[in-house]
Symmetry: D2
Subunit: 357 residues, 4 copies
Amino acid sequence: MKRRENMKGFAMMGIGKTAWIEKEKPVCGPMDAICRPLALAPCTSDVHTVWAGAIGERTNLILGHEGVGEVVEVGSLVKDFKKGDKVLVGAITPDWNSIAAQNGYPQHSGGMLSGWKFSNFKDGVFGEYFHVNDADGNLAPLPDYVDLAVGCMLSDMVPTGILGAEMADIQFGDKVCVIGIGPVGLMALAGAKIRGASEIFAVGSRPTCIQVAKDFGATEIVNYKDGDIVKQVLELTKNNGVDRVIVAGGENETIEQAVKMVRAGGKVSNINYLGEGEYVNIPRAEWGVGMGHKMIIGGLMCGGRMRMERYSLLVKTKRIDPIKLVTHTLKGFEKVEESLMMMKSKAPDLIKPVVIL
Amino acid sequence: MKRRENMKGFAMMGIGKTAWIEKEKPVCGPMDAICRPLALAPCTSDVHTVWAGAIGERTNLILGHEGVGEVVEVGSLVKDFKKGDKVLVGAITPDWNSIAAQNGYPQHSGGMLSGWKFSNFKDGVFGEYFHVNDADGNLAPLPDYVDLAVGCMLSDMVPTGILGAEMADIQFGDKVCVIGIGPVGLMALAGAKIRGASEIFAVGSRPTCIQVAKDFGATEIVNYKDGDIVKQVLELTKNNGVDRVIVAGGENETIEQAVKMVRAGGKVSNINYLGEGEYVNIPRAEWGVGMGHKMIIGGLMCGGRMRMERYSLLVKTKRIDPIKLVTHTLKGFEKVEESLMMMKSKAPDLIKPVVIL
Amino acid sequence: MKRRENMKGFAMMGIGKTAWIEKEKPVCGPMDAICRPLALAPCTSDVHTVWAGAIGERTNLILGHEGVGEVVEVGSLVKDFKKGDKVLVGAITPDWNSIAAQNGYPQHSGGMLSGWKFSNFKDGVFGEYFHVNDADGNLAPLPDYVDLAVGCMLSDMVPTGILGAEMADIQFGDKVCVIGIGPVGLMALAGAKIRGASEIFAVGSRPTCIQVAKDFGATEIVNYKDGDIVKQVLELTKNNGVDRVIVAGGENETIEQAVKMVRAGGKVSNINYLGEGEYVNIPRAEWGVGMGHKMIIGGLMCGGRMRMERYSLLVKTKRIDPIKLVTHTLKGFEKVEESLMMMKSKAPDLIKPVVIL
Amino acid sequence: MKRRENMKGFAMMGIGKTAWIEKEKPVCGPMDAICRPLALAPCTSDVHTVWAGAIGERTNLILGHEGVGEVVEVGSLVKDFKKGDKVLVGAITPDWNSIAAQNGYPQHSGGMLSGWKFSNFKDGVFGEYFHVNDADGNLAPLPDYVDLAVGCMLSDMVPTGILGAEMADIQFGDKVCVIGIGPVGLMALAGAKIRGASEIFAVGSRPTCIQVAKDFGATEIVNYKDGDIVKQVLELTKNNGVDRVIVAGGENETIEQAVKMVRAGGKVSNINYLGEGEYVNIPRAEWGVGMGHKMIIGGLMCGGRMRMERYSLLVKTKRIDPIKLVTHTLKGFEKVEESLMMMKSKAPDLIKPVVIL
């Protein structure tokens, strides 16, 4: 039997530790594809995974779940992709025939959040090669109108941001507050705009992000440095509160603030990974003593080919413009390490770095 | 100018104090009706209002928001009702042309929860006469197939219970847990059954309630005396959790339990008045670190003629059988006081008393 | 008793006949308002009403249901408006406490389509004064950021267009075809864009309308002069069909075309008044022999203050730009007649005329 | 290479012709299962397929898509099933990773209606063995509380009936008319009852079916022999019309009747296979001249393991009782032919025959 080839990858070696490692190339099952990366991007989740130990201990696990690839091998049952195809890859790669997927929640196939496999249950995309389960369901062709950097944004930033707007169930003319204007919050804001929001209050403080927030449709910037954000939002709405809040940053307490600033019958949609603490605290009185119809939901992006194709069309027709998230571009596979460190230290002018291979 | 007649009523005199008082008869505006009660029922909320001070201090406020009446006067703009009509009356009587009502939340017209007027902002139904705003919108004809005791249940118990099932957004075959099987929880259970639930786990301990829960469709009784209810429900579902939870009793901590026992993508629907404490605590980990798609909502019944007519039809066609809630029947207006005390002391065999006038 | 004053108005005298008439000023009930017009616009429906006899015979009926007014009198129960207020007025003025409204369909209060009262069951807005039922529910303050011409568009064109996008239930990235790009179709197109559509195919032929369609977000123009529109749309979508179709013009056969060009699981939303013919024909085979999940719905705008306020905010935040519909502006009340004739003859460069008083 | 074994099956030989044939046993792919039938049932669709040529010419195609099986072989990727397992099998067996399935319409994966494979694109279940694509997604374990005859009803009758109630989007207290009370209409009726309908009008004439309709919750029987069914239903609803109509039988004209008897804002849900004619005719006036908000939809059952498991739970908890559909039971594989002929000739006392092997 032939020994499998080795490949290089940038990995988590334990909580707080990273390294370049050598590993065997992944094996391609009948439904699967093996890809090599064309472009890669680090995510705040990678930072949480390594330095906060958010998902617990992991060793020799290649990091990364955002990227664009080229197919180098496909399984015998794969119908729509072949060697040489350039492809979009979702951060979440569900099992589409699972009970959870049949029930509308592919991201929770195999258990809550278990549609998230890259750099969680299996090696991520920061390797010379990476494995994609169910290629027909979880890859999408890279259209010629999507460049590599934007393609990386379609792995996670775009679908997660749009999920925030979707769960918020925005109606025509809604006043929406987006708390947190890092890359995910900015895409949520862009999503809110093309979902029918009128006034959009963006909560943030970094000038680079504020500029993109305005470009994406924010009508008002709320800066926590100017005082309590709940008070500011209530003033802006003459104490009526906003119709919807999308939480895309902050801490557990941010949900409390969201509940306080939303009107009766309003909705709070969370897309922020809550990494610490025992509880999220819902303020009883402002929650209408349990009867105010203030809906609270938080979710993980769905994954899958259909959404990547749909969001590509939003790029094509200029409904969204994710390239504005990409403040820094690096060249060469080995720069993946540097890009992750940039995400960790988060310089004032950084929104998102991309590595082009 | 003619002086208005006086009437008697059973009132809250301050937190912890009740008394029979004399007050002027209410005045009928152009859209309104004045009714005299034919049957009345006390509600746990009345107990909260008086003895827990749940809505703050109130003086000389006639209590009660559940009852069946006879119209004694209507305003000039009222089209569908006239003197002598027997009518169902909702506990919540919204302003139907308000922004909140146009937005789908009549119960929050005039501010969060402000569709609740009886025994809150104005005198309730425990008087010789009571005032109903917007008679065409807030009364419904008492059908001959609805008896007086059932009619009282249509004021609050039935619509609140059904709201619990509605907000839970039950799908065909869902496993549903109903926590709390007082009168509201029992009606929520009945609602869940006719909304398509399969297995229904009823959490409670009083034998009288357990019997009705079984009659209404509970497939399993979960008793907190047998241990942690979360653990019991997880065992009953092979650790998959239930699809939906309706919270109709307990304390703030009950919401925490609900979140722990519901599956990813499931829903928690609260119809319990949360009277105390600063926070409702959502367990971060079991809430999927903010990304588990476990929706949480709590609401107040909607009110209005349409729903009373619809739920009357559910009685007519025997889809629901609210008479089973009525464990005790008293005779005579003056028994209203006794009925409230029964609700306060809650004997083991009591679900709901009704006073027939 | 004082005799009521007379007023002038431009009226339908019978099918095919119009005239200026004198009538008594309308009387203000307790919930109502009397307004004088500040700006008015004719609607294609007015043309249908008079010259096609679409709603049957009408005599001495003042025409018009689009306009901005100034309140000259309010009833005793009106809370939010007073003499001198400048107001937006909806073309549809529902009875908000009706069963239909409580059921989510205020436009059908009093019977199917009966929320439409102006120039149908009572005098319209083309008089020196006009009557508005339920002023608090059916007027909205004219914001300073809405000019008079845009205010007229908020009576009917904007809410009807947005309804088209709402009923179509557009999802992020949907390909949408809008058939008919008169003023309503153009607003539907604008609505589709801010609801998340990606590619928007606009079916029309007049250059003036095509220009605005492109401004509003059309990505492709489909001209029936270039051949069968179904074939063209299928070619543009590689035979997959579009996700949604909004029908805003054409004849009964247009619905047939819509069904043919929409994918399985897609939706057809009609906002076109179908004035003639016994049937709308659904093509059996392309409708999936009854099992293709191609949903068909058609509706009337909802009416009401809340939506006028929300859509005003969409104007304020530049999400929609209805002024582009207004191709012609006339001055003086008496020009209402000319404006209607312009709507009737529909010159190539006309989208919508407005009369400023 | 070993020659594959042969097997027997009951097949369509051409339009109007059936025969027992010999064919090679089907081959099992990595995701698939091969089963042998334990119980089988014929469907009206089989009759349409053979004698009406509804899906066009087919030769040597084994018929049948309703049955319960035993797994005899599984592919290497199948996780949840193994040889010897007794299983429920859906009539529709989608490709779960397809774009259509990711979009919520697995039944249309591969093209409109193309989730329907058995006895359409590949051999059906009336063979000694049959092939199931994606075993994990399209089989469900046969629970001990589901007997074989009921198991057959879970292939098609139950999910199709429930789909009728689902698409109708029934609300608590809705008045529902079910047109057609063959086996699918009866299950739709049962579904409507447990979805919250109050009054249910069942349109039919055969005494056997009428009895089951009453058992399943019909509150009124409407017999076309007593006159126009539209007129009868309007009389029963005091000319208000019903809230929902489920069409489960009749001809294309039945949809026209449904539109006429439903109220503005109501919904018409079709689950009837419309086999002939060019058009389904929607009556323009009663459809509110295109603006009455009368939604029309028709669909194919969804398929998949999740729903079979859910509907099994509805059997377990006695929410539905499909055994009442099974009026005739035959013994032995060779009786499949006789059962199909029974379905074709439809004796007065027949609802559904089942063959136990």
